[in-house]
């Protein structure tokens, strides 16, 4: 048993020193009634046997179809450069824990500081934290910042948020005794008049924060400048939830009036891994710095005047403030944030722009070709980045199954959502070659009836 470091001789020596003849005697203080019963587990396997068993389990999974995957909806299929895993799998990154002791953790702290800086650059906001778990909880954290900053208890969220993010928001609001009001979409987007009406209808129950996703769940770009302005008129904070890759092309949240930006940096080199772990981000205006949840790395100087990094503003956190902390989060997704930081450093501005442009152009090529198919069409008119909804002649779920048999993951069924009868949410990235897109189009055409 290679993971237990003590030999029988070690154990015997320890027992002798303690004065117990065996383990049973050592534990005789534990009442018989609460002792664990023998566990009905199979016997331990040898290493080769174990590998065979794990291989058999792995065989039962369908691997992501790579270039033939058109799945999006919050988890995106992008190329991960080899340098990313080569660097991120270094033991210094993989095994290190929270850098509470700056004197031995400058490397870890610097990487996180770079991550924070990159998030600020992408979002156009002043401050960012060391990362959160995922976009869903990041949205909830943004809601809490808004509630605490305005001292109000109503959270307004767009119906065009990823349904999983909305569900998590609901849970947080329920547990914190807050009201959650959802603004309904028209034509796949939140119209300014719709938001205004929802906020006005609240009356005395003033809004703390409005949370919009752009590009939204259906891939569409929301009219954020107007929505932010209206939100501010009602004295609430405006939150953008954004795929950070889209920020290479779209106006950053800081420029369109957002007070807080959140999202998931999974597109930056983080493997799909059957749903996670991914990495949430949060950035905000400087005035909200002290309300940011989680870890924050700051740059300072040591006692010799050398640049040094350190966890800062810890007095807001769990381990100091307990129930009065800004949040219950007491960690971050350091390794995933490290991966994203390596990816961004490697790609650089130009590389990132190129990835974003490839996604944009390929998605629009795909959309055009699909729209030409009899029985199909684009569901919405608003502009999109790399995801879009197609109206389908049969349930999206049925079309998806049919295309899976051809080895194509056609998209996420959105039957009955956003006023559609049948539909499919299709995502195209730099991973999808022209022949893959053409195969998708052909497959859709052949499965129409």
């Amino acid at each position: 048993m290679p993971y237990l470091p003590h030999t029988a001789a070690d154990r015997e020596a320890m027992l002798t020193t303690i004065g117990a003849s065996d383990m049973e005697e050592l534990l005789d203080q534990v009442p018989t009634a609460v002792r664990s019963k023998p566990l009905l587990l199979p016997a331990a396997l040898s290493e080769p046997e174990l590998l065979h068993e794990l291989d058999a389990l792995a065989e039962r999974n369908t691997r992501s179809a790579g270039p033939r995957s058109f799945l999006g909806g919050g988890a995106y299929n992008h190329h991960i450069p080899a340098v990313v895993s080569a660097l991120a799998s270094r033991s210094e990154f993989v095994t290190s824990y929270t850098p509470y002791q700056p004197e031995i953790s400058q490397g870890t702290l610097q990487v996180i500081y770079e991550w924070q800086s990159l998030i600020c650059a992408l979002t156009g906001l002043d401050v960012a934290n060391a990362s959160l778990y995922d976009a869903a909880t990041a949205c909830a954290e943004a809601a809490m910042i808004g509630v605490n900053a305005t001292n109000r208890s109503t959270v307004v969220a767009a119906s065009t948020l990823n349904p999983m993010y909305l569900e998590v928001l609901r849970t947080y609001c329920w547990s914190q005794g807050l009201q959650l009001r959802v603004v309904m979409a028209e034509g796949g987007c939140i119209s300014p008049s719709s938001l205004r009406a929802t906020l006005a209808d609240l009356g005395e129950e003033k809004p703390a924060v409005a949370i919009l996703q752009s590009p939204n769940y259906f891939g569409l770009i929301e009219d954020q400048a107007s929505l932010a302005q209206i939100t501010h008129e009602f004295g609430a904070l405006y939150v953008t939830c954004a795929n950070p890759l889209s920020l290479a092309i779209l106006a950053p949240p800081g420029e369109i009036g957002a007070d807080i930006a959140v999202g998931d940096a999974q597109p930056f080199g983080v493997a799909l891994s059957y749903g996670g772990p991914y990495v949430g981000y949060v950035a905000a205006r400087e005035s909200l710095l002290r309300r940011l949840p989680g870890r924050i790395v700051g740059a300072s100087v040591d006692n010799k005047g050398r640049k040094a990094y350190v966890l800062t503003l810890q007095a807001r956190e769990q381990h100091i403030r307990r129930e009065k902390a800004t949040s219950n989060i007491c960690s971050n997704h350091a390794l995933c944030a490290t991966v994203a930081t390596i990816y961004l450093s490697y790609m650089g501005k130009a590389g990132l722009l190129e990835v974003a442009h490839l996604c944009l152009q390929k998605a629009h090529y795909a959309a055009e070709r699909i729209a030409e198919l009899p029985g199909y069409g684009l569901a919405f008119e608003a502009p999109f980045f790399h995801e879009f909804v197609v109206k389908t002649p049969r349930p999206g779920a049925v079309i998806r199954e049919a295309l899976m048999e051809r080895g194509i993951l056609a998209g996420i069924p959105v039957d009955g959502q956003a006023g559609l009868t049948y539909g499919l949410l299709v995502c195209v990235t730099e991973q999808n070659r022209k022949e893959d897109i053409d195969a998708l189009v052909q497959g859709l055409g052949e499965c129409a009836a």
Binding site: R290, A315, R316, I320, R321, K324
Partner: protein, 124 residues
Amino acid sequence: MNPDDLLYASSHEWVRRGDPATIGITHFAQDQLGDVVYVELPVVGAVLSAGEIFGNVESVKTASDLYAPVSGTVVETNTQLVESPELLNTSPYDKGWLIKVKLDNEEDLGNLLDRAAYETNVAH
């Protein structure tokens, strides 16, 4: 070192009588807190209730709530503390004052401690 002319709360706030009254934290409090880095104060116009939390002082090692020693309305806050929170450490009874309050009821002051009582019972 605790001025004679002030009244004290057992939660380490002091009150200087006047119209409006001035409120701050004691030498003991700032010493326990360590280097103050940030002070969160109520807005002018905020209504305070004696015994309830009205703000927060953050130091390098902790964040501590401020409790209102009296009930009243905030008429002024020490804006110097935004740039210089360390005034709470260097001058807790003078330049490091926190807020000025128009009292609801002068009788609230009767619930506070004089210097001797504060030093004996609380700040040892």
